[in-house]
């Protein structure tokens, strides 16, 4: 009888819970079941205790106490081991994209915020949103071993937060930082690790310096949202703490004194003498320049780079180690995987962390002064050669390799460091500008190479890092042929259960006989 009461209690509890979970409201049905279930279980437990007292004769006591002791020990062991394992935080990321592996950059940003104050991460969700599961695992992974407190909140239970943080959709993460400045927050609506990293970076409110981007001669458009625009690079600069301003050479005779760095992206026209003069004077007084060129351009920037020992070569690099890409023939869009091991700009990049160039020119290096330091940061593969006519980039077939052509590790990105009386000059030159365009900035490790070049040139070395990558390999968006799966279903999905049922029927018939 007592067990039947316990059973009734369990059933009532299950239905009460199901009612609450299903409706999300505490109705009379759920309360009645929960109260009745709880009462039945308590009553049953009470009767059990009374009976146990009845069975507490000395002969029974010892074995029952031993059994109860074993049970308590098992419970203690299970809870202790689980808690211990939780504090160790050991986990293996077997997911297809490896998306739960915290990136070095994310952990560094978290550590920095933890030093500043109290950091909280909240996941806001609507019931039934399956994406919550993945976000929860990611947030728990990030929260392990640092100060980040993680909490999940159902949006409808926190209407005040909905207004305050402007929650527009389920599966939104809000980071709240409390430090001496008060409370600041950042929200992320599509919480991939990359997006969370950027939110953490914004929360750090770093002042990395002021970057000027050159305009006026058809340079890359930092407000352009299209694939050929550079708004992605502008956003990345702002995220990582830079104030971005424009230097219009026709309107200003000098590059402003507050410039920590000048970024010059592929002018379409030749620069005016005034603009070139301003750049020369800026560099001579200890300026920092990141220049992104294109094969075949002759804008005047090339002459200035050559004055600093970085001579852009004519033609385009052909790297047969790289296959064809989109409409570009084989070898003309090199995938670079050879980097200077010791240079900060290429720190962390290796053969598995490639960068993509869509048509690139090379450089020849010649030190202007003995103490100057010139380095190739990114190399082409040893099979690469230079096609003298950059018009090959417009061809749809792979260029034919001329006889006796020189194969070499041609430089694709170079960096120069020059000690001068007015201060240290730093220049990074890229043989391609498209790698930083919206279309390709987030391809492979392009953003890391470009941003790390900016940080190195701007002497923001602690910010040099590898950013988290978005896994896209798991998004398999093609139909599985229904006919094939139907055949599989009939051969395996139906045949196997049929055989099993036949075996069961035979056994039953045999036992009856």
């Amino acid at each position: 009888m007592n067990r039947a009461v316990a059973l009734i209690g369990l059933i009532a509890l299950a239905f009460g819970g199901a009612s609450l979970a299903g409706s999300g409201e505490a109705t009379w049905f759920s309360w009645l079941n929960l109260v009745a279930g709880g009462a039945c279980l308590l009553g049953s437990a009470g009767v059990g205790v009374v009976r146990a007292r009845g069975a507490s004769a000395p002969a029974f006591r010892a074995p029952l106490l031993r059994a109860a002791g074993r049970l308590a020990l098992a419970l203690l062991l299970a809870v202790g081991a689980e808690r211990g394992a939780a504090s160790l935080g050991v986990q293996f990321d077997w997911s297809f994209e490896g998306k739960f592996q915290p990136a070095e950059a994310t952990l560094a940003a978290l550590a920095d915020l933890c030093e500043k104050g109290e950091l909280e991460g909240r996941l806001y969700y609507d019931e039934g949103d399956a994406r919550r599961r993945s976000t929860r695992v990611l947030m728990e992974t990030l929260a392990h071993g640092n100060c980040l407190g993680f909490e999940e909140r159902r949006i409808e239970d926190y209407p005040e937060d909905e207004d305050r943080f402007g929650l527009g959709t389920s599966n939104t993460v809000v980071f709240v930082l409390r430090d001496e400045r008060g409370e600041t927050w950042e929200s992320v609506e599509r919480p991939t690790q990359g997006a969370l990293f950027e939110a953490l970076f914004r929360l750090r409110q770093l002042r990395s310096g002021r970057v000027y981007v050159a305009r006026g001669a058809g340079e890359g458009d930092f407000s352009g949202l299209g694939p050929t625009g550079f708004s992605g690079l502008a956003a990345a600069l702002q995220t990582e703490g830079y104030e971005v301003g424009e230097f219009v050479s026709a309107a200003a005779p000098e590059i402003p004194d507050d410039a920590n760095l000048l970024v010059w992206v592929n002018p379409e026209r030749r620069l005016s003498d005034e603009a070139l003069g301003a750049l020369r004077r800026y560099l001579e007084r200890g300026g920092r320049l990141v220049a992104l060129l294109e094969p075949g351009s002759d804008t005047g920037l090339e002459e200035i780079l050559a004055e600093w020992g970085i001579q852009p070569l004519g033609g385009a690099v052909v790297d047969p180690a790289s296959g064809s890409f989109e409409s570009v023939a084989r070898g003309l869009a090199p995938l670079a995987y050879t980097y200077a091991k010791s240079h900060p700009v290429s720190r962390g990049l290796d053969t598995n962390r490639m960068t993509f160039f869509r048509g690139v020119r090379s450089f020849a290096l010649r030190k202007p002064q003995v103490d100057d330091r010139l380095h190739t940061v990114v190399f082409a593969s040893p099979r690469a050669w230079i096609a003298e006519d950059e018009a090959v980039l417009r061809h749809t077939t792979a260029p034919v390799e001329p006889p006796e052509v020189r194969h070499d590790y041609w430089p694709l990105v170079v960096a120069g460091q020059y000690e001068r009386e007015a201060g240290e000059v730093r220049i990074v030159a890229f043989g391609d500008s498209e790698l930083a365009s919206n279309q390709y900035l987030r391809a492979l490790y392009n953003i890391d190479l470009v941003m790390n070049a900016v940080h190195w040139a701007g002497e923001q070395h602690p910010l040099i890092t590898l950013r988290p990558k978005e896994g896209v390999a798991g998004r398999l968006q093609f139909p599985l042929a229904l006919q094939n799966t139907l055949t599989m279903y009939q051969s395996l999905g139906l045949l196997l259960p049929e055989i099993l049922l036949l075996a069961g029927a035979l056994l039953w018939a045999r036992s009856r006989a």
Binding site: R3, L10, A14, G24, R70, A78, W94, M488, Y489, G504
Partner: protein, 265 residues
């Protein structure tokens, strides 16, 4: 050891001599196949609609990220299968102890030179073997189809690992219920109720806004969130130990039931 192996052999014979085992195996495979095929059909339809027309604010020919084989087919199938196991596994575990008790054959077992611990361990081991076999049979079909879509063997292993651990834990709970009663009906109903109650306590969290530690506790003892982590392709030591802990505590409870029976009758 010889006696223990003899007990395992006897349990295996009893299990596979029962038509119920084959019915449950067939049901698990059939349900997994049906679920998979149904989700796949829906996925192909959604894909077709997105590719050919403007839907949900997306431009024609643009498929939103969440419509993919993994998230639209594989994970929901595994999620549903996990829940369906609550219904199927207690049907196997209900008879393990309760049947012996109702027939009185447990008295014979208790008088052999096998310790109660060995008896419980033998029955648990055989049941675990059976549920892993059932999971293997149910997993083959979706796994083969998904491998065509390139989800990755490592990720599949993680999901299978989680599914097996979930099935073993549910079987452990079912065995405890069977150990405490002589009625198979009571054992199966109690298992269903208990597994369902332990499945996911997240429905309680809105009522525990002011008791965060209690909310964390009820979350920590829920089965479903632990299984979900494996489904995402992450194998965490704490989840592994949680499932092993459920088995250990269940073993101790079943043994307690046997000791109680031996002492108090």
């Amino acid at each position: 050891m010889i006696r223990f192996l003899a007990l395992v052999r006897k349990e295996l014979l009893v299990l596979f001599a029962s038509p119920l085992a084959y019915i449950v195996l067939a049901l698990v495979v059939l349900v997994a196949g049906l679920l998979f095929f149904d989700h796949l059909r829906a996925y192909n339809q959604i894909l077709f609609l997105f590719q050919t027309s403007t839907m949900g604010g997306f431009e024609s020919g643009t498929i939103p990220d969440h419509v993919n084989l993994r998230e639209t087919v594989f994970f929901p199938v595994m999620e549903n299968l996990g829940f369906i196991l609550i219904g199927l596994i207690p049907m196997i575990t209900m008879r393990v102890f309760a049947e012996e008790r109702s027939r009185g054959t447990d008295e014979i077992l208790l008088t052999t030179r096998l310790s109660p611990g060995q008896i419980v361990a033998g029955k648990f081991l055989v049941t675990y073997g059976f549920v892993v076999l059932a999971m293997l049979a149910s997993f083959v079909y979706p796994a083969m189809a998904i491998l065509q879509g390139g989800i990755g063997v490592q990720h599949l292993s993680s999901v299978f690992f989680g599914l097996s651990l979930l099935a073993i834990s549910l079987a452990s709970i079912g065995l405890v219920c069977s150990a405490f009663t002589s009625s198979q009906f009571m054992a199966v109903v109690a298992s269903w109720a208990l597994c369902f109650v332990l499945w996911d306590w997240s429905w309680l969290t809105p009522f525990l806004r002011d008791a965060e530690s209690l909310a964390r506790f009820v979350d920590a003892i829920s089965i479903h969130p632990r299984y979900s982590v494996f489904a995402e392709g992450v194998v965490r030591l704490e989840d592994l130990i949680y499932f092993l802990g459920v088995c250990l505590v269940s073993y101790a409870l079943a043994r307690f039931a046997l000791d109680w029976r031996r002492v108090a009758g």
